[in-house]
Symmetry: C2
C-alpha cells in the first residue's frame, strides 16, 4: 500500500523549522554526522543560549534528536532524523508533478498559438 501523505500541518512545521538560516546551516552541519551542542555553537556568531533555542526548535519538530555523548555526559549530541526530510521530499514530489502536466499543456498551447514572445 502507498504510504499515507502526512497531514499538511506536519509539512508546515517542518518548513518553519527549516526557515531560519541558522537552523538551515545547522542541518547542513549535521549532515556529516552527530555534533555536540558546543561544536555547533562554535560555528555561529551567536550566543550559546541562542544556539540552544534553535536546537530546541529543531528537536521539538523532530528534525533532530538528542543523545548524550559517551565519555562525557555533560555534552549533548544532536543528529539528524530522516523522517521529516523524507516527508518534505514527498510533498515536493507532489508539487513537482505539476510541471509534468503543465509543460505538456504549455507545449500543446505553444504549438497552437506560437506568438513570438519574450520568453523571459
Amino acid at each position: 500500500m502507498r504510504e499515507a501523505a502526512p497531514p499538511p500541518e506536519e509539512i508546515d512545521r517542518i518548513l518553519s523549522a527549516l526557515a531560519d538560516p541558522t537552523r538551515r546551516r545547522m542541518v547542513d552541519m549535521l549532515r556529516e554526522g552527530p555534533r555536540r551542542a558546543g561544536d555547533l555553537a562554535a560555528a555561529f556568531a551567536i550566543s550559546g543560549p541562542a544556539v540552544s533555542r534553535h536546537l530546541r526548535v529543531l528537536r521539538e519538530n523532530d528534525l533532530i534528536e538528542e543523545s548524550r555523548e559517551a565519555g562525557d555526559a555533560r555534552a549533548r549530541l544532536y543528529s539528524l532524523r530522516a523522517q521529516p526530510f523524507t516527508e518534505l521530499q514527498g510533498w515536493l514530489e507532489e508539487v513537482a508533478a505539476f510541471w509534468t502536466v503543465q509543460l505538456g499543456a504549455f507545449k500543446a498551447h505553444a504549438e497552437k498559438k506560437p506568438r513570438r514572445g519574450k520568453r523571459k
Copy 2:
C-alpha cells in the same frame, strides 16, 4: 557537467517563502494550474490585501509568476515556477545522502550489538 549547487541563501529564501501555512496552501492550490488572485483570496479566511501580500512574497522569491488574464486585464493570474522547487529538491537530496551513510553505519553497529528492540 554537474549543475552548480545554488547558493545557500537561495535555499533560505525559498524555505522562508514556504514557511507560512497560507503560502504553503497557495502553492498547493497553484499545483492544479494558474489561478486568479481573487480565486486564491476566496479560498482563505483573510482579507484581500493580506492575500495580496502573500502573493508578493511568493513572487519576489520567484516561486510564482504573475500574468494578466486573457479576457479581463484587471485580473492577475499566478502560476508556479519550477526552478525554486527543483533547487529545494536538490538540497534535500544532499541532505538525504546522509542516511545512506548513516544507515550503513547503523546497520554495522546493529550487527555488532544486536539488542532486541522496539523498531518504532
